[in-house]
């Protein structure tokens, strides 16, 4: 099924002509209205007039996470911030998040792309979609909500957590589709399994949309088996509208990335040089329809590849593979993006806690931060250590919104950092 058959199956030459037209408009817009971009363009010796063909995009400067942080809160806007309609944020490394603004049209485009995603996987207005993503500054909840409403499905904004109530809603309102993170899906599977087969039979559940965190094919298979649903992979990031940037169709051979909304490139993460289709590298995205805050050649730091060849579904928008990893040290836990630098900043804010720490990520979203107990922190008082442990836990929870386990360890237990120390030990097997 198609939401916009003509646009989704537009032949490549027409699609690329549309991309070039929109790229030129976007480049002209940021060059004219955003001083920071004008400076970046000038540093690269380019103006929008240099964009004669689509491949000329490689002449444009990249936009990095640091660029977004430097321009916090609203210096990348092409309009006044009160002329936009919504703000979403994503974690940053400096203590301030990355702020992304949306106009009415921006939200409409994002919702429309999600409507395409949902429709191609079988959702119609007869469906009931339970949206188990957190609502708020995170795009996962609200953007999916708007997309599902566009299709006309009944949307249950249940958000994440309170699993018993989730199951009650699923049973009472005949939920057919759910949107959730893979980690929550695993938890939900466990609870559902305990409820027994009879309970599952009462549910009308057909499909699960999983995104916001990377996960393996094995995890997907496990969830499909336990929940007895079809699982569809979703890719998105707040900087690019959140969920629905790329999505699996019914053939589930990679995720179609909506090329009338974005130009995608794959580059070598070290050199920034473009790589041909089929080769793995860092995904670079340029917004083509953003009004309020267009972003040029954004370095997503996500590693993937563009799948060559046509998809059986008939859509001409090319597909990317499942995300294979990160080009930086960010990790995602319960849908929340976390940088080790955030943890480090919190630890350093407590007197005498030194820089030697390690972050361990284990199954079931368990996060443990190991901190060395140095001489300055210790006066023989066990209660003081317990207080320190509690204080660090609470401060970290306030920063990253997740409550970690703090483990106090003897000095010398953690390897002394030489150069770039390895901080994160991810044992979750998600890539």
């Amino acid at each position: 099924m198609f939401w916009q058959k003509e646009l989704e199956t537009l032949n490549r030459s027409r699609l690329e002509a549309l991309q070039l037209k929109r790229l030129r408009e976007t480049a002209a817009r940021v060059y004219g209205k955003v001083p920071y971009y004008r400076k970046l363009f000038k540093n690269n010796g380019v103006t929008p007039a240099h964009l004669k063909a689509l491949q000329d995009i490689s002449k444009l400067p990249f936009t990095t996470r640091d660029d977004l942080q430097k321009n916090y809160p609203d210096k990348l806007l092409t309009i006044k911030h009160h002329d936009t309609m919504r703000l979403h944020t994503s974690s940053g490394t400096t203590g301030k998040p990355k702020a992304v603004f949306f106009t009415r049209q921006d939200i409409d485009v994002a919702a429309n792309n999600i409507a395409r995603c949902l429709t191609m996987t079988g959702v119609t207005k007869k469906d009931v979609l339970q949206n188990m993503m957190s609502y708020g500054l995170f795009t996962g909840g609200l953007m999916m909500h708007y997309g599902a409403e566009k299709v006309g499905a009944l949307v249950i904004p249940s958000a994440i957590g309170n699993t018993e109530r989730q199951l009650m809603l699923m049973e009472d309102f005949g939920t057919t589709s759910i949107h959730l993170t893979p980690s929550y899906a695993l938890y939900l599977s466990d609870v559902l399994e305990k409820k027994g087969r009879e309970f599952r039979k009462k549910l009308k559940l057909k499909r699960a949309y999983m995104g916001a965190e990377p996960y393996t094919e094995e995890t997907k298979n496990k969830i499909e088996k336990l929940l007895q649903v079809k699982v569809y992979n979703s890719y998105g990031l707040t900087e690019m509208n959140g969920p629905g940037v790329a999505f699996e169709c019914e053939f589930q051979a990679g995720m179609h990335l909506w090329e009338d909304s974005y130009i995608m490139e794959i580059v070598d993460p070290k050199t920034g040089k473009q790589l041909p289709d089929g080769e793995s590298g860092e995904l670079i995205l340029t917004t083509l329809t953003r009004e309020g805050m267009p972003i040029i050649r954004y370095r997503t730091r996500d590693l993937t590849a563009i799948l060559p060849g046509k998809c059986k579904c008939g859509r001409t928008h090319r597909r990317i593979t499942r995300i294979k990893g990160r080009a930086d040290d960010m990790f995602i836990l319960r849908g929340v993006n976390i940088y080790p630098q955030q943890i480090e900043r919190v630890l350093m804010s407590v007197a005498h806690v030194e820089k030697n720490y390690q972050i361990y990520l284990d199954a079931n979203d368990k996060m443990t931060v190991k901190v060395e107990i140095t001489k300055k922190l210790f006066d023989g008082d066990l209660d003081k250590l317990k207080k320190l442990q509690l204080d660090l836990t609470e401060r970290l929870r306030a920063e990253i919104l997740i409550r970690p386990n703090i483990e106090l360890v003897e000095p010398g237990t953690l390897p002394v950092s030489e150069g770039k120390a390895k901080r994160v030990f991810d044992n979750r097997k998600i890539y």
Binding site: I373, T374, K375, L377, F378, D379, G380, D381, L382, L385, K386, E407, L408, V409, E410, P411, G412, T413
Partner: protein
């Protein structure tokens, strides 16, 4: 009233951790007089009274252990029924806040020593009345 030096050492609750502490002492011929462990599950604090506290502290630091040297009260009491009760009465009367306490019984078994880790050791030292009463004990 004798003031003793107590060593506190931070240890993770893992096999072999205490052995690491005792091996340092054994290698340096330091004798343990009393020992006490306070644990919070994953980690704990071991308090030790030894015959050569300054040396033990130095050796622990050299071994990379997190150790802390502090003063505690050592109160001699009669090693007989009611001996601890006599001392406890004095502690209560003087409003002394006890963080930790453990007992050391020397070979002679004539007297036992109660080791008191009090929050405010300076106040305890200045409390002449208290010291006097202890002496008279």
């Amino acid at each position: 009233m004798p003031i003793l030096k107590q060593l506190s050492v931070f240890v993770q609750n893992q096999p072999g951790k205490i052995e690491r502490l005792t091996s340092v002492l054994a290698e340096n011929k330091i004798n343990i007089l009393a020992l006490n462990i306070a644990s919070s599950g994953e980690y704990g604090v071991i308090k030790i009274i030894v015959d050569k506290p300054e040396l033990a502290y130095k050796k622990y630091k050299e071994a990379g252990l997190t150790a802390y040297l502090s003063e505690v009260l050592g109160i001699l009491m009669q090693d007989k029924p009611g001996g601890l009760h006599e001392v406890a009465k004095i502690i209560a009367k003087n409003n002394l806040n006890v963080e930790n306490a453990y007992v050391y019984v020397p070979k002679s078994r004539k007297k036992a020593m109660l080791i008191l880790d009090v929050r405010d050791i300076k106040a305890a030292k200045k409390n002449i009345a208290f010291a006097g009463k202890l002496k008279s004990n």
